[in-house]
C-alpha cells in the first residue's frame, strides 16, 4: 500500500473514531453532570490521542510532506474534539491528559530547528519527554550541526 493511501485510510479511521466519540458525547452530554462528563469524554479523547501519538512517535523517519500531513491532521482533530466539551478549549485542555502533548507534537511538525530550540527554552514541549522529543527531531530532520546542537541542548535540559 502506498503512503498516500495509508494516510487517507488513517485519516478515515481517525474520523470514524471522532464520530464515535461525538455520538457518545451526544448521549452523555444531556445526562451527566458537567464535571463527570468532561472526565469521561477526556478519557475517550485521550485514547484517540494516545493511539495516534504512538504511531507518530515510533516512526524512524518522517518526510516533509508527512510532517505537513501530521500537522494538518492534528489541527483538524483538535478542532473536532474541542466541540465535545461545553466550554470548548478551556475544558478540553483540563480534561484531556494528552491534549497539550498532542498539540505540541502537531505544532512541532511545522517548526524549524531554530523554532524548536526557541520553543524548548520557553518550555513549550514540557509535556513531551526528552527521549521522545529527541527521537522526533531525529526522525524529522536530517543530520546537521544545527540538529546536533538542539539534541545536545535537549540532553543537557534532561540532565538538569
Amino acid at each position: 500500500m502506498g503512503g498516500g493511501k495509508i494516510w487517507s485510510e488513517s485519516e478515515n479511521a481517525i474520523n470514524g473514531a471522532v464520530n464515535h466519540a461525538q455520538q457518545v458525547s451526544q448521549a452523555w452530554g444531556p445526562l451527566l453532570a458537567t464535571n463527570i462528563y468532561c472526565k469521561a469524554m477526556g478519557m475517550l479523547i485521550d485514547c484517540i490521542f494516545e493511539l495516534i501519538l504512538s504511531h507518530v512517535m515510533k516512526a524512524p523517519d518522517i518526510s516533509e510532506s508527512s510532517c505537513q500531513f501530521v500537522n494538518t491532521l492534528f489541527g483538524d482533530l483538535l478542532g473536532s474534539v474541542e466541540e465535545c466539551f461545553p466550554k470548548r478549549l478551556v475544558e478540553a485542555q483540563i480534561s484531556c491528559k494528552y491534549w497539550h502533548k498532542f498539540f505540541a507534537v502537531g505544532k512541532f511538525m511545522n517548526m524549524s530547528l531554530s523554532e524548536i530550540n526557541h520553543a524548548l527554552a520557553e518550555g513549550f514541549f514540557r509535556s513531551i519527554t526528552g527521549p521522545e522529543l529527541s527521537s522526533l527531531i531525529q526522525a524529522t530532520f536530517a543530520e546537521s550541526t544545527k540538529r546536533e546542537n538542539v539534541l545536545k541542548a535537549l540532553s543537557k535540559s534532561d540532565q538538569m
Partner: protein, 439 residues
C-alpha cells in the same frame, strides 16, 4: 382401638369437606365455585358476574367475598319416613349485593368502618365453618370424642391446608394503616378465640392446642410485616417500570459563558447535587423510602412501648434500607446488559447511584431526630450505604468508558497499522493538497 380403615375414611371425609365445602367458601373463585356448586346457587354465574361488574366498588379482598356465602344445615323427613340431613352452602346474590352496597357506603365514610366491616366478615366466615363442622360432628361423627379428635387432627394437624387458610384470612384483616390497628387488636382476638373455643367444644382440638389463636398473639408484628411486604412490593413495581425515562435533578447551572477567566460571582454551591438526569425509577424509589421513613416516625408507640410490639418503626426503618438494596439487586439484574453496553443507560445508572448516595448522606439526619423511639434515633443512618453506591456508580461508568475506549481502538488500530512506516515516504496525499495549514 380404631382401625386403619376408620382413619382412612375420616381422612377422606376431612379432605372432601375441605375441598368441596370449606375451601370454596374461603377462597373466592367464582368460576371454580359456580362450576362445581351451581346447583346450590339461586342464580347462574353469568348473573353474578354481571352483578359484580355493576358494583365496581366491591372490595377485592378474599375476606369480603368469602363472607358473602351462607351455610345452612337442616334435617327433614323424607317420604319414606327417614330423616335426611342437608348441608347447603350458597352465595345469595341479593345478600351479596346488599353487602357490597353496605361496603360502598362504609368505604365512602371512613377506614375505621372498613375495618369493622372486615371484622364482621371474619365473624361470618368463622360462623360458616363452625356450621359445617358442627354438622359433621353431629351427623357423621355422632359426637364420638375419639373420632372427633382424629378428624380434628386431619383438619388442623400437620400438613393440613385449612389452618394456613384460616390464618391467612386473619392476616388479611390486618390493616395497612397504623391508625386502624387498635380497633383490629381490640376486636379480632375475641372472634378468633370464640372460633377456637367452638372447635375445642366439638373436641376437634385439644384444649391446650392454641394453633388458631396463636395467630393473634403478635398482631402488631403481623401488621409490621404486612406493611413491609406491601412497601417492598410497591418498591419492586417501581423498579419494574421503564428504566429509560429520565428526569432532571440538581441545581440548573447558570448560562455557560466561554471565557478563560474565573468568575467568582457564579460559583456553584459545593453542597448541592450537580445538575444531571436520573431515572424516574430512582426518583420514585427515593420518594417511597422517604414516605416509609415518614410513616415509621409517625407510628404511635406509646401504647406498645412496653412490649416488643414497638417493632413497627424498626421494621419500617429496615424496610426503607432494604429498598436501596433492592434497587442495586433488581436494576443490575434487569438492566445489567444495557448498563454494561449502552452509554446512555450506563450514564443514567451512574447518576442514579450518585443521587441515591447524595441523599443517603443526609437521610438519617433528616429523619433520625423525628423517631419517638430512642434506639431508633441513635441507629437511624444510611451513611454506611454511601460508599457502596458511590463505588457502584464509579465502577459502571469506568466499565462503559473502558468499553468505549476499546471500541475506539478497534475503529483505529487495524486501519492505521502502517502509518508509522508510511510517514517515511515522501508522498503527498490528496488530503494535504486541498487543505490549508491550521496553525
Amino acid at each position: 382401638m380404631i382401625g386403619s380403615w376408620v382413619n382412612d375414611t375420616l381422612k377422606t371425609i376431612a379432605s372432601n369437606i375441605c375441598e368441596l365445602a370449606i375451601y370454596p367458601i374461603m377462597d373466592f373463585d367464582e368460576t371454580k365455585a359456580y362450576t362445581a356448586y351451581n346447583s346450590n346457587s339461586v342464580e347462574g354465574p353469568s348473573a353474578l358476574v354481571q352483578g359484580l361488574a355493576r358494583k365496581k366498588s366491591s372490595p377485592n379482598w378474599k375476606l369480603f367475598h368469602a363472607s358473602l356465602w351462607t351455610v345452612k344445615a337442616s334435617s327433614q323427613k323424607t317420604s319414606a319416613n327417614k330423616i335426611q340431613h342437608l348441608l347447603k352452602w350458597e352465595r345469595d346474590i341479593s345478600s351479596s349485593l346488599k353487602a357490597e352496597n353496605d361496603y360502598s357506603e362504609v368505604s365512602g365514610s371512613s377506614s375505621q368502618s372498613e375495618t369493622l366491616l372486615a371484622v364482621d366478615c371474619l365473624k361470618h366466615i368463622a360462623k360458616n365453618i363452625t356450621v359445617i363442622l358442627e354438622f359433621l360432628v353431629k351427623n357423621v361423627l355422632l359426637d364420638n370424642a375419639d373420632l372427633c379428635s382424629i378428624f380434628g387432627d386431619f383438619l388442623f394437624g400437620e400438613g393440613s391446608e385449612l389452618l394456613p387458610k384460616i390464618l391467612n384470612l386473619v392476616y388479611e384483616i390486618i390493616p395497612t394503616n397504623h391508625s386502624q390497628l387498635p380497633s383490629v387488636v381490640s376486636s379480632v382476638p375475641s372472634v378468633v378465640l370464640e372460633f377456637q373455643e367452638r372447635i375445642v367444644q366439638m373436641k376437634l382440638l385439644n384444649e391446650k392446642d392454641n394453633c388458631i389463636s396463636g395467630a393473634i398473639i403478635d398482631m402488631e408484628k403481623s401488621y409490621a410485616e404486612k406493611r413491609r411486604v406491601n412497601i417492598l412490593t410497591e418498591g419492586h413495581s417501581i423498579l419494574a417500570e421503564d428504566y429509560h425515562n429520565s428526569v432532571q435533578v440538581g441545581n440548573a447551572p447558570a448560562r455557560t459563558v466561554i471565557t478563560d477567566e474565573i468568575d467568582f460571582t457564579h460559583r456553584e454551591d459545593p453542597f448541592s447535587f450537580a445538575y444531571c438526569s436520573i431515572s424516574s425509577v430512582a426518583r420514585d424509589l427515593l420518594r417511597l423510602c422517604r414516605n416509609t421513613l415518614e410513616e415509621a416516625t409517625m407510628v404511635e408507640i406509646d401504647q406498645y412501648s412496653d412490649s416488643e410490639t414497638a417493632l413497627t418503626p424498626f421494621l419500617l426503618f429496615k424496610t426503607s434500607r432494604e429498598l436501596f438494596d433492592m434497587f442495586r439487586a433488581v436494576i443490575s439484574s434487569r438492566h445489567g446488559i444495557s448498563i454494561a453496553s449502552i452509554p446512555r443507560c450506563a450514564a443514567i445508572f451512574h447518576n442514579d447511584c450518585d443521587y441515591i448516595a447524595f441523599n443517603l448522606l443526609t437521610l438519617g439526619l433528616e429523619f433520625g431526630p423525628k423517631f419517638r423511639h430512642e434506639n431508633l434515633r441513635r441507629v437511624c443512618t444510611f451513611v454506611d450505604m454511601v460508599p457502596i453506591f458511590r463505588r457502584l456508580a464509579e465502577e459502571k461508568l469506568r466499565d462503559i468508558v473502558n468499553i468505549q475506549k476499546g471500541e475506539l481502538t478497534k475503529i483505529m488500530e487495524d486501519r492505521m497499522d502502517g502509518l508509522w512506516h508510511s510517514l517515511a515516504l515522501d508522498e503527498v496525499s490528496q488530503f494535504v493538497l486541498h487543505k490549508d495549514l491550521l496553525y
